[in-house]
Amino acid sequence: MSALIKHTPLPDRPPPSSQTGIVHWAKQHLFSSTTNSLLTLASFYVLFLLVPPLVNWALLSATLEGTDRSACEANGGGACWTFIKIRFNQIMFGLYYGSHPEQIWRPVLAFFMLIGLVAPLFIERFSYKGLLAGFILLIFPFIAFALIHGAWLGLPVAETNEWGGFMLTFILSIVGIIAALPLGILLALGRRSELPVVRSFCVFFIELWRGTPLITVLFMASVLLPLFFPSGVDLDKVLRALIGITLFQSAYTAEAIRGGLQAIPKGQFEAADALGLAYWEKMTFIILPQALKISIPGIVNTFIELFKDTTLVSIIGLLDLLNMSQTAAQSAEWRGYDTEAYIFAAFIFWIFCYGMSRYSQNLETKLDRGHKN
């Protein structure tokens, strides 16, 4: 056999420098055409008009010192963050914890327990996900309630009608989303069921809630729900809101999951069938793990909506983050500082919603990449 020619592959080179660098970036993104250049300049002008006064008000001439409004009045002009500082506990944790700051460790502990419990669910190779999810769903709510409400464990009682602020917003939305998840899974599966009765029921249920504004749902939860219970049973107001929110949210969760289910190739169902897996085995081990993963961005998006929509609980007299901020600004001590209250509430909402939205975008990119191989 004669000697063969050996081929050495060419080494990789970096791209030409005209493709990188800040000048190149600006050319590409800000000044790529006449229209684009004009828009860029106009935007810069608007920013120039808006940003300096805003920064001046919110930061440069703002007041943070002191413990009452006199400090702010002395300073004049800028924002009065002293108000937020003094009423921070009330705005974040509601009336009870606002006036019992030494008890605030209770909701904080519950919050971090939840984070600690949920985090392992996102570890790919963690193998007790089912068990942990069961614990979070069935046992943790009681622990959290015991901590925040008290009475058990000898803790002083914080009545639910004194819950409020960010804590209430968080409880309403997190319980809403978590409790809606199993319900949403069942509804999504039911909507694709081959049994007409099951399918029609699920379609009816989903469309009923999707066709009703949350504000109506909350109203009905507070007015209608008590009719279904024997008189004398006084359903807790927060619990009523939670039931309404959960049912409402389950419809949106179901639709997000249905999208995920539709994205699963038919071949996955067929392979599971061909192996002899029964319906629930097929769904539990093959279809749902894949479908839920795809649905996470959608579920996070509905969660963001819900998180903001919880402000509507004011209609049934609950003081969430927004309403608690407003209430604080209406107290005699701090009358007139509504702007600060609204901006602070908006800021907290924004931090959480933006964080979740970034998370869901990251996930989407990650999932896209995952699908390509």
């Binding site: 071949g267 392979a271 069938d273 061909a274 192996l275 002899g276 029964a278 085995e281 093959i286 995952g370």
Partner: protein
């Protein structure tokens, strides 16, 4: 319950429609225990539909199908029974992408056959060795080549210890250099005496392995014969035309 006959599969008077479209017409076919059948025919002739009826991935409207002594009707118990005994390999592998190769292979034995996990894993490793990829056991399907994935799919089916194996164009989605590694595995399997029904256009495989070659066109079985007879002496015009087209390149 299981009736004893020397037929692994008995199909008689089988008719199936998709809406108005008559996709399978008066199919009669008996397959003996251990027989290896290759089905070929033009695209759309109903080959996939036929073998998918055999594990009730598709429902038929007329006729009877008896697989391993169990009649396929709307009785879910029967369907489950048949699916336990019939393995299927798909054109696009259909591995479970979120499970490792080993998990793909042990899931059904553990849940359907109730095999203890340790035993299921040991058996899965045996089958992965038989398809020559034991070293990939802990990888995910996405990390494997097409040929490797298809061999995993075969191992996954075999882990259920089926008595019948169905193959639907198992090499059609593969790059040419990977076809032979899959056909080799299937040839090995044929030597173990497995009853096999294979939809394929790999005529070399048909000549070497098949006991009988079936030609389908427009939802009918047009011709069936031993490979020698089938390739050298086709009786029907349509068979001849098909063979000349497929062997031309």
């Amino acid at each position: 319950m299981t009736k004893h006959s020397d037929h692994s599969i008995e199909i008689s008077g089988l008719n199936k429609w998709y809406g108005d479209f008559h996709v399978l017409k008066d199919i009669d076919l008996n397959v003996s225990m251990g027989e290896r059948i290759v089905i070929c025919g033009p695209s759309g002739s109903g080959k996939s539909t036929l073998i998918r009826c055999l594990n009730h991935l598709e429902e038929h409207q007329e006729g009877t199908i008896i697989v391993d002594g169990v009649e396929l009707n709307n009785d879910v118990k029967n369907i489950e029974k048949v699916r336990r005994e019939v393995g299927m390999v798909f054109q696009h592998f259909n591995l479970f992408p979120h499970l490792t190769v080993l998990e793909n292979c042990t899931l059904a034995p553990i849940w359907v056959r109730k095999t203890p996990k340790k035993d299921a894993q040991a058996e899965a490793m045996e089958y992965l060795e038989r398809v020559r990829i034991p070293e990939q056991a802990n990888k995910y399907p996405g990390q494997l080549s097409g040929g490797q994935q298809q061999r995993v799919a075969i191992a996954r089916s075999l882990c259920m210890k089926p008595r019948i194996m169905l193959f639907d164009e198992p090499t059609s989605a593969l790059d040419p250099e990977m076809i032979s590694e899959v056909l080799d595995v299937m040839t090995d399997l044929a030597k173990t005496g497995m009853t096999m029904m294979v939809v394929t256009h790999e005529m070399g495989f048909a000549k070497q392995v098949a006991d009988r070659v079936i030609f389908m066109d427009y939802g009918e079985i047009v011709e069936q014969a031993a490979p020698d007879e089938f390739f050298n002496n086709p009786k029907h015009e349509r068979t001849q035309l098909f063979l000349s087209q497929i062997l031309a390149h």
